[in-house]
C-alpha cells in the first residue's frame, strides 16, 4: 500500500471502531423496534409476521394517543423553552466575577448530578398534601393554617412535573451557555463600551450571536432528552389519572409492560422517533443556515 492510499484510508480506519459500535448498539435496536412495530406480536413476545401497519392504525385511532401526544408537546415545549431562558439568564449571572462564584457554579450542578428518580421523589415529598415539606414550612411560618392540596387536579400535577423538569434541565443549559460565554473575547465588549453601547445592545449584538451555536446544541439535545424523559413523570404520577399526565414514553411503557401490547408500544416509539427526527433536523437546518447568513 502506498502512502497516498494509506492517507486516504487512514481516517476511515480511525472512525471504524465508533461506526461499528454505533451500528451494533444503536442501529440494530432501532431496526428491531421498527421490525416489532410492523409485526403482529403475541402477548408472550412472539413475532407472527407483517400485519399491514395494524399497530400504527390502532395507536393512531385511539383517543388516548391524541391526548398523550398533546401532553408530550406541552411538556417538551414548556420544559425546553422555560429552562433555556432561565438557564441563559443564570449563565449570564455566573459569568460575572463575584465572590463565591465557584461555589455558586458547583451548586448549580447539583440538580444535574442527582438521579432523576430521586429528584422526582423529592418533589413528590415536597408537594404532598399529608406529609409534604412545603405545607409544613408554610404552616410553621403561619402563612397557612391547614394543609393545602397542591395537586387538586391532573393539570396541577402536570404543572409540578414540568416545574421539576425545568429545575433539572437548567444546569445543562447554563453550562452549555457558560462555555460559550467564556469563549467570547473580551475585546468585543471593550470596543463596544468605547463606542458607548448599552448593556442590552451588548447582550443582543455581541453575546447572543456568539453563544448561538452553544445554545443551538443545548436546545437540540434538550428537545430530545425532554421528549424522551421517563423518570420524572413515572415517579410522580405514572401518567395517572387516566393518561392526563402521560407522555409518549410513559404511555408506550404502559402499553408494553402493563398491557403486553408490544407491537403497539413499538409503533408509538417509531412515531416518537420520527417526530423527533423531523423536529431536530428542521431546527438544526434552520439555525445552521441562519448562522451562515450572519457570518
Amino acid at each position: 500500500m502506498n502512502k497516498k492510499t494509506l492517507r486516504r484510508v487512514e481516517p476511515y480506519i480511525w472512525i471504524a471502531p465508533s461506526v461499528i459500535l454505533m451500528a451494533v448498539f444503536i442501529l440494530v435496536p432501532i431496526c428491531s423496534v421498527f421490525q416489532i412495530a410492523m409485526n403482529d406480536v403475541s402477548k408472550a413476545g412472539k413475532l407472527r409476521g407483517f400485519n399491514n401497519f395494524a399497530n400504527f392504525s390502532k395507536v393512531l385511532k385511539s383517543p388516548t394517543f391524541a391526548l398523550v401526544l398533546k401532553n408530550t408537546i406541552v411538556w417538551t415545549i414548556a420544559v425546553v423553552v422555560i429552562s433555556t431562558v432561565l438557564g441563559f439568564l443564570l449563565a449570564l449571572v455566573l459569568n460575572n466575577k463575584f465572590r463565591g462564584r465557584k461555589i455558586a457554579r458547583a451548586i448549580v450542578v447539583f440538580p444535574w448530578a442527582t438521579t432523576l428518580v430521586i429528584q422526582a421523589s423529592a418533589w413528590n415529598f415536597i408537594i404532598n398534601t399529608d406529609y409534604g415539606t412545603l405545607n409544613t414550612l408554610l404552616m410553621k411560618l403561619r402563612l397557612i393554617s391547614a394543609p393545602v392540596n397542591w395537586t387538586p387536579n391532573a393539570g396541577a400535577y402536570f404543572a409540578w412535573e414540568i416545574a421539576c423538569g425545568i429545575f433539572v434541565t437548567i444546569p445543562f443549559v447554563t453550562f452549555c451557555v457558560l462555555s460559550g460565554l467564556q469563549s467570547i473575547d473580551t475585546s468585543y465588549y471593550e470596543a463596544a463600551t468605547v463606542d458607548g453601547a448599552t448593556y442590552f445592545q451588548k447582550l443582543f449584538s455581541i453575546t447572543l450571536p456568539l453563544v448561538k451555536s452553544s445554545l443551538t446544541v443545548a436546545t437540540v439535545l434538550n428537545i430530545i432528552y425532554v421528549f424522551n424523559s421517563f423518570p420524572i413523570i413515572w415517579t410522580m404520577t405514572k401518567g395517572d389519572p387516566a393518561s392526563r399526565t402521560d407522555t409518549l414514553v410513559t404511555y408506550l411503557y404502559k402499553l408494553a409492560f402493563y398491557n403486553s401490547k408490544q407491537g403497539e408500544a413499538a409503533a408509538v416509539s417509531v412515531i416518537g422517533f420520527l417526530i423527533l427526527l423531523i423536529c431536530a433536523s428542521t431546527y438544526m437546518i434552520y439555525t445552521l443556515r441562519k448562522g451562515d447568513d450572519d457570518l
Binding site: I26, P29, Y157, N228, W234, L276
Partner: protein, 429 residues
C-alpha cells in the same frame, strides 16, 4: 444540500444517543443474551439431565433460599442438574419473553400470569409433569384459576389475600363499631370525619399499581363479578356499576384520602401507620409493614364490608409454576416431576412460604403455617375461600388497565355506566 444531509445525520445520531441514554430506569439490565446456550433442555454433560428454572424474587431472602435449594436438590439427585435463576419482578417478564423469542424458554417458570404463554401454545398441561401425590395437595379453588379449555396449565405456588384493617383507637374515639355493610361503612366514615376532620376515614387506591383491586373489593362484595358463570365478560353489569359508583361516591363525599388516582396502597399503609387513616383494605403483610416503618398503632382486622346481604369476599392474588413445552424426553419430564415433588414436600414448602411471608397454596402447607404462626391462622382460612381475578382469560391485561382507566375517568367526573359500557364493548367486542 450537504449541510441538510449533515444536519439530518447529526440529529439521527443525537437521537440514537439519547435513545441509548434515555432508557434509564425502564428495562435496564434485562437483556440477558438470548443466544440459546444454556436454557434449552439438553440431556448433556456426564449423562445428567439438565433442567432450568426461572423464579420470581419475592423478598430479600429469596435468592439465598433458592441457592440452597439448588445445592440440596443437586446433591440428592445424582442424575439431575438443576439450574435456578432468580429474577426481580421488574425484569422477569422481559427476561422470559426475550428467551422465548430466542427459542430458549426455561423449563420451569414461576410468575403470576400464564394465559399469554398458554395462548401461544408454549405450555404443558400441569398433569403431564406433576405427580398425583403433589397434585392432590393443592386447594381445588386454586387449581381452578389456571384452567383454560378444561385443562389446568399451571400450579399455584403461593397466594395473598385481603381484608379490612382499621385503627381501633380512632374507631373507639369516634364511637363507631367496625362496619360490616356499605351503609355502616359510610356512617362510620361520616362519624370519624365529624370526630376529627384531619383523619381520612377510608383509604382507596385507584392507581395504575393496583386500581383493579379496588374494583374487585366493591364489585365482589356487591354480588357482582368480572365474568359470568360461563366465563363471559360482564364488566358493565348493574351490580358492577353500582359498586364503582359507591366507591367514587365515598371519594366525592370527602370520606377518603384526597388523591386515590395517585396514592398507592403503600402511601395508604403509611397514612394508616401514622394514624392519619382510620380504615383500609389490604394484605396480611400490613402489620409487619407498619411495624417496620417504626409506627405503633393499634390495628384490628375484619372482613371487607359488603352490600345487599352478600357474604364478604376477600380478594386473592395467586402466583404460579408452569412448564414450557420444550420437547422433553421421558427422563427430562421425570426430572421436572421430581423437582415439584421435592419443592412441595410439606416441611420444605411451608418453610418457604413462611420465609416469604405469604399464604400457602396446599392444605398441608396451610396446616403447618397456621400451627406455627397464630397470626397467620385466620388468613389461611381466608385464603382457602377467597376469590381471584380471572387471569386465565387472555384479555385480563386489557380488562385490568381498562377498569383502572374507567375508575380514574370516573374520578375526573365521567359517568360510570358509560365508562363500563365502553369497556365492555371494547373487551367483548
Amino acid at each position: 444540500m450537504k449541510k441538510i444531509l449533515a444536519a439530518v445525520l447529526a440529529s439521527t445520531m443525537a437521537l440514537a444517543l439519547a435513545a441509548c441514554g434515555g432508557g434509564g430506569g425502564t428495562t435496564s439490565g434485562t437483556p440477558q443474551t438470548c443466544g440459546g446456550s444454556s436454557n434449552t433442555p439438553a440431556p448433556s454433560t456426564g449423562g445428567k439431565v439438565e433442567i432450568s428454572a426461572i423464579v420470581a424474587e419475592y423478598g430479600q431472602n429469596t435468592r439465598t433460599w433458592w441457592a440452597d435449594f439448588e445445592k440440596e436438590f443437586n446433591a440428592s439427585h445424582d442424575d439431575i442438574n438443576l439450574t435456578v435463576e432468580v429474577q426481580s419482578w421488574n425484569d422477569i417478564s422481559t427476561v422470559v419473553n426475550t428467551r422465548i423469542s430466542g427459542d430458549a424458554a426455561p423449563d420451569i417458570l414461576n410468575i403470576d400470569l400464564f394465559a399469554a404463554y398458554q395462548a401461544d401454545d408454549l405450555l404443558l398441561p400441569a398433569q403431564d409433569y406433576v405427580s398425583a401425590d403433589t397434585y392432590a395437595k393443592f386447594y381445588q379453588s386454586f387449581l381452578d384459576q389456571s384452567v383454560v379449555d378444561g385443562v389446568v396449565w399451571a400450579i399455584p405456588d403461593l397466594a395473598s389475600a385481603r381484608a379490612m384493617y382499621y385503627n381501633k383507637d380512632i374507631l373507639e374515639a369516634a364511637g363507631v363499631e367496625v362496619p360490616t355493610t356499605w351503609d355502616e361503612l359510610k356512617a362510620a366514615c361520616e362519624a370519624i370525619k365529624a370526630y376529627d376532620s384531619n383523619i381520612y376515614p377510608w383509604g382507596i387506591d385507584m392507581t395504575t399499581d393496583e386500581g383493579q383491586a379496588a374494583a374487585a373489593y366493591y364489585i365482589w362484595n356487591n354480588g357482582g363479578d368480572f365474568t359470568d358463570a360461563d366465563g363471559n365478560w360482564t364488566l358493565n353489569s348493574d351490580k358492577n356499576v353500582e359498586a364503582i359508583e359507591y366507591a367514587i361516591g365515598l371519594i366525592n363525599d370527602g370520606l377518603t384520602n384526597t388523591d386515590p388516582a395517585n396514592e398507592t396502597r403503600y402511601n395508604l399503609q403509611d397514612l394508616l401507620g401514622a394514624g392519619q387513616l382510620a380504615m383500609m383494605i389490604g394484605p396480611n403483610s400490613i402489620p409487619t409493614y407498619v411495624a417496620d416503618g417504626g409506627y405503633s398503632v393499634n390495628l384490628g382486622v375484619a372482613s371487607i364490608p359488603t352490600n345487599g346481604g352478600n357474604p364478604s369476599v376477600s380478594a386473592g392474588v395467586m402466583d404460579r409454576f408452569m412448564v414450557f413445552d420444550n420437547g422433553y424426553t421421558d427422563e427430562e419430564l421425570a426430572a421436572i416431576t421430581e423437582f415439584f415433588d421435592y419443592f412441595y414436600e410439606d416441611t420444605r414448602y411451608s418453610e418457604w412460604v413462611l420465609m416469604e411471608g405469604f399464604l400457602p397454596a396446599t392444605s398441608a402447607g396451610g396446616e403447618i403455617v397456621a400451627a406455627s404462626d397464630p397470626e397467620m391462622a385466620p388468613w389461611v382460612e381466608i385464603v382457602g375461600s377467597c376469590k381471584f381475578y380471572p387471569v386465565a382469560k387472555a384479555e385480563w391485561d386489557d380488562v385490568k388497565t381498562g377498569i383502572i382507566r374507567a375508575e380514574q375517568e370516573a374520578l375526573l367526573g365521567g359517568n360510570v355506566q358509560e365508562l363500563l359500557d365502553n369497556l365492555q364493548a371494547e373487551i367483548a367486542g
